[in-house]
Amino acid sequence: MIEFLKKHYEIVEKAPRLYKLQIESDKLVEILSSVSINSNFITLSQIACTDWIEDEVFALNYILTTKERDKNLMVEVRISRVHCSLPTLLNLYPQAQVMERDLHEMYGINFRGNDTLYDFALENWNEIPPLRREFDTLAYVNEHFDFRIGREDNKDVKAEVKRRKAQAKESKDGK
Amino acid sequence: MFLDSLAMIALAYIFGFLYYGLYRNISARVHGRFGPSLAQSFFDSIKLFLKENSTNFGWMFYAGPIIMMIGAITTLLFIPYLNGSEHLVGLSQYGNLILVLYLMVLEPLGNAMGIGSNGNPFGVMGITRGLTRLIGLELPFYIAAIGLMIANHSADIGVIMTNQSEGYNAFTHPLLFIGAFISFLGFMGKSPFDVVGAPQEVYSGPATEFSGKFFAIALSQSAIFSFAKLLLMVNLFLGGAQSLVELVAKTFVLFLVAVLVGNVYARFTTAQSVEFLVRVPTGIALVGLLFV
């Protein structure tokens, strides 16, 4: 299976049973349909998105799984953050509907041909899509919520924890 | 007669709720719990009566629980409590078994009217399930009733009750009794025939929109109604009762069996319950009818 694909595409083996294929966004549907016909990778188990704000791109990983659930193939597509738009995979994988809807809500990516891209988990959300990295979560929270006046000893305890751990280690070693 | 009827209703109310409390207790013991106090059902119903407000969907929603209550009370009043007693007979000399069988359907009807008027689809789903179940449920019970009526050549409950001095109908017509008893389990709304208000499937079924006093009336009528059904079974098959103590003993035995059966069986689906009722108890009762 994977040998067949390796003949046609530049497949990199990232880990045992994990392969990666990097493609252009305009060949996405073509390549994925070819993969699903010619190989055992028939299930789309996830679409993972990473926001590379430094490179001005979104990297979308379409993770395909074999029928036997023993190998994974990551098909990576990079698209511009500004005009982020991709063709939908609804015709190939019906389960892509929910995933694409989720990505649209969280990153603002438009999937051409998927007409279910309305409110999903966030109802009436009018801000920047929250998983884009330019969205400042803390500022948003401080603006929208009041915090309860809580414990007075609410301090940074990292240094204290470090000190105690070291102490504990010392005593253990001493024994 | 008026006081007599009032006493019948009061007794049915008290015993119905006590039995319901017992039901919760016995179920708790079956589960390995302690369960609530016996009077918990009273507390629940009083608390519901004392709610500050209850949601109302219009006059038909108001009338629904009242019709249910009428169904329960009229059914009760046409069934004599005691065998050969002048007291606690209600209006039984003006009615008969066929009338009682029909009055028993009034409660689902009132329920259906009240719930239909609130527009909640879950409620109507429950009602439809209930009416579908009724198709199967009434068949064995009717066959048993017909068998008894033909055997006694009368449709008078009092006559059927007093004719059992030599032996209870449950023993002289055992097949009819088995058929009627399985159907009775369904009438009591216990597992495996509790398809109507199945909370895992249809939210709360018919009771979805009932709140406050409406729900309290629904609970009270169900207590009265289940006692009326117990009473009918005792009168038809267990020879009635000479005294209140005997009545309580007989109804309690029947009730206990129903509760225990309900606790160990899983629920049928609606289609399954109708098919089961139409096949097994109906078949048994039909064989019993041939012997009559």
């Binding site: - | 708790a28 609530p36 608390k47 709610k51 407000n53």
Partner: protein, 208 residues
């Protein structure tokens, strides 16, 4: 009575601990009896909002058996007396929680289960999880912990029954009715307008 302010939560706790704030003495005998029945029979709408939902089923099992206290679960808000908000509430969930609360009939009580309902808990910097439940709904009993054990929940029930029976403070639903503008404003702050049917519409019939 202290105002339901920023510090309202802390102040109410003080009230509950202090006998002299109790409104028990002003009540008639009938009202006391009524309160007794209300405390004795509680129908719970267990709204499983977050991870706390998994702590609720055990209290009905044979190990904890909360039915002893007269607590029963119901499926529909119409019959419920108590709403348990079990854990974090996102915007979407909170909308449903408020809707369910408004469909409940008075008297009604709210139990906030877990730290998330008190101060956001581990979701304190989440963009769509509310931090203080009592800004949006009147909470009668908080049970802290992440997650609280079923024993804690039972203790909460017992305390709440005690509060109702002894009328230690004004119940939350009365605050909700009287300070509705406050709650409504907070709800609108995160939902925008017209996202749930308004309280006034639902209970306009009260005065008829």
């Amino acid at each position: 009575m202290p105002e339901n302010t920023q510090e309202g939560f802390i102040d109410q706790q003080k009230v509950l601990d202090n006998e002299e704030y109790s409104i028990k003495n002003t009540q008639s005998i009938i009202q006391k009896a009524v309160d007794w029945f209300r405390a004795r029979s509680m129908f719970v709408l267990a709204y499983g909002t977050g991870c706390g939902a998994i702590e609720m089923p055990p209290i009905f099992t044979s190990r904890y058996d909360i039915e002893r206290l007269g607590v029963v679960g119901v499926a529909t808000p119409r019959q419920a007396d108590i709403l348990i908000v079990s854990g974090y509430c996102s915007y979407k969930t909170l909308k449903r929680v408020i809707r369910s609360y408004e469909q409940m009939n008075e008297p009604k009580y709210v139990i906030g289960l877990g730290s998330c309902t008190i101060n956001g808990g581990m979701y304190w910097d989440s963009y769509n999880t509310i931090k203080k439940l009592d800004e949006y709904l009147p909470v009668d009993m908080y049970i802290n912990g992440c997650m609280p054990r079923p024993e804690a929940l039972i203790e909460g029930f017992v305390k709440l029954q005690d509060n109702i029976r002894n009328a230690k403070s004004e119940a939350g639903y009365i605050q909700y009715r009287e300070n509705n503008a406050f709650y409504r404003a907070n709800q609108e702050k995160i939902f925008g307008k017209n996202t749930t049917p308004t309280f006034e519409e639902n209970f306009a019939g009260m005065n008829q």
